[in-house]
Amino acid sequence: MTKSLIAEKKFFKEAQLLSPVAQYAKKRGFRLQLAEVPFYEYRIDLYGFSKSENATVAIELKLRDWGRALEQAMLYQLCSDFVYIAMPEDAANRVEIAQLEKEGVGLIAVQNTGECQCILSAQLHQEVRSFYRGHQIEYLRENARA
């Protein structure tokens, strides 16, 4: 109980998840990255590109509502090879993993220390459309620095 209170106190804004998650993605090779990348009327919390793997990742940050996060993550599959939801560890433990697994969406738990742990790996999926993916990478190249 005490641990849960600490976690919820630590992360009271989604933006607080950004820095640890961005570091984590960078370590995984997604060195070219940008926060708040527009995709239609949505804004992808973190979008990254790995030149060596020629792969893109979109990460949706959420404090609690994983159902809503999954809906958004599914949309981001249109423009990204891998899509993750990142949540504080306590919230991540309450996610119905099977639902994410079914859609190929991954899950990252952010611990109080700022360490990130991959609970579920995102899967390569069939939804990505090269048209959108290409546009997003182009936007990233124009607006982000590795």
């Binding site: 527009p38 995709f39 239609y40 009327e41 949505y42 159902g67 949309l75 599959q77 249109l78 939804e127």
Partner: protein, 448 residues
């Protein structure tokens, strides 16, 4: 049962192109009197040339009390018809004052509207003392609608020769006020008096009533009974329902069922319309609804008081099989589940209107053009939909609305329900089916 009609409401002259190009598909055009007062010459010219019957909404409710959407309290200060206005010669200083369109409208209507503007507080039931006062107000408001276009054409030497050829509106709207939830009884009584007096004037063209009420009309029996009583007694030539903040897609089964009951009951004595309605209201034509009105993109529900300070909303893409609008990303994400792999399967399963055929041609990726975004100015912080994308969405919606109306008019209720059930089955495994399509089931059940 009547064939459903669709009236398109023009909110500003920037929407003129939509109305003109789709006029032949709709049954009439509606304009607010505030727009006419803001742009009298352009409005008169537009209505003179309008091929469709037109209706002028006198907007009398704007001078009444309203509920502030941010605090949920009743306000009498008429603030929502004010705006920040530059003070001449004051180096850019502004003051909050009444919009000139409403000031002119109040002047045209006379007391108690002009009095309300002068004193800076809303019209109340107490402003209508005797029945003669009520009759005078009704006469002025009806005469205004009857003669406004002709008067404007008459005042300009260039259009003066044509003024006598100006058509009157297809029907007139009796003055009306919003029945706000804190004082329902007194507003119902005032609307009742205005309705009776307007009908007694025996105008040369039909006179319709507007029942402009809070959502409680669909849940409070006593309110529904009180409204029904005066509406039926008035023997009006038509009755328009405007239920503030009522959205067919978000409504409960109880509200939808009660709307159906209300429509059936009114239809026994007068044709009944929904002033801001969508497909569900069209389907209610099988239970007596004579038609709907809505804006260009889309206005299928409207709060009496608009929420100030919101950014311009994206015009989403209307999915006719679902009778609802969704983002381009959401719809694109459904393609794989629906088996849409190319333009022809898109046209077969989603839309084959001329706009979609023109945009998509042989490239399914071109569907993205309905959601194109850009930074409208160099200093814009957030991207917004391009005007071209919004235009595509609006024309596509209007064409689809006409198709929906015709389909409803040629279907029986069993077929309409089957269409709703089939759409739910086809789309339930898509991303939209996760929690956005429940209304299809609710509609279908409410129409059984």
């Amino acid at each position: 049962m009547p064939d459903a009609k669709v009236f398109v409401r023009m909110g500003s002259h920037s929407e003129k192109e939509y109305v003109e190009k789709t006029a032949c598909k709709f049954d009439g055009t509606m304009l607010g009197a505030n727009l006419v007062e803001a742009t009298p010459g352009a409005s008169a010219s537009f209505l003179f040339n309008c091929k469709n019957p037109y209706i002028l909404d006198p907007m009398t409710y704007a001078f009444g009390a309203y509920v502030d959407p941010s605090t949920d309290t009743v306000r009498y200060d008429l603030d929502w018809i004010k705006s920040e206005q530059k003070i001449r010669g004051s180096n850019g200083k502004t003051k909050r004052d009444f919009k000139s369109s409403y000031t002119k409208l109040a002047a045209a209507f006379g007391p108690p509207f002009s009095t309300a503007i002068k004193r800076g507080s809303a019209v109340t039931a107490a402003d209508f003392g005797t029945n003669a006062d009520v009759e005078n107000v009704c006469r002025t408001v009806l005469d205004y609608q009857m003669a406004r276009v002709q008067r404007e054409l008459d005042s300009d030497p260039e259009t003066h020769p044509f003024a006598r050829d100006a058509k009157p509106p297809a029907f007139l709207l009796a003055p009306y006020f919003y029945v706000e939830p804190h004082n329902s009884k007194s507003w119902v009584e005032l609307n009742s008096r205005l309705a009776a007096a307007s009908m007694n004037l025996k105008a040369h063209v039909p006179v319709h009533l507007v029942v402009c009420c809070h959502r409680g009309l669909l849940s409070e029996d006593s309110l529904r009974v009180a409204v029904l009583e005066y509406v039926k007694a008035s023997r009006a030539d038509g009755v328009w329902l405007w239920i503030s903040r009522f959205d067919e897609h978000m409504a409960t089964a109880t509200e939808l069922g009660n709307l159906r009951t209300l429509v059936s009951e009114i239809a026994d004595s007068s044709p009944v319309y929904n002033m801001h309605g969508g497909f569900y209201s069209l389907a209610l034509s099988k239970f007596g609804m004579s038609g709907i009105a809505h804006g260009i993109g889309y206005g299928e529900q409207k709060d009496v008081v608009p929420i100030i300070g919101q950014s311009t909303p994206t015009v989403q893409y209307y999915v006719r099989p679902l009778h609802a609008k969704f983002s381009v990303a959401e719809i694109t994400r459904c393609f794989s589940t629906l088996g849409i792999k190319d333009a022809s399967s898109f046209h077969a399963k989603i839309c084959d209107c001329v706009i979609c055929k023109g945009v998509i041609k042989n490239n399914l990726d071109a569907f993205a053009q309905f959601g194109e975004i850009h930074y409208s100015t160099p200093s814009s912080k957030r991207p917004a939909q391009t005007p071209a994308a919004a235009k595509r969405c609006r024309f596509h919606f209007l064409l689809n609305r006409a198709v929906e109306r015709d389909a409803v008019n040629h279907s029986d209720i069993a077929n309409i329900r089957k269409g709703l059930d089939d759409a739910f089955e086809s789309w339930k495994y898509t991303v939209l089916g996760r929690n956005q399509l429940g209304f299809l089931k609710t509609w279908s059940d409410s129409l059984s």
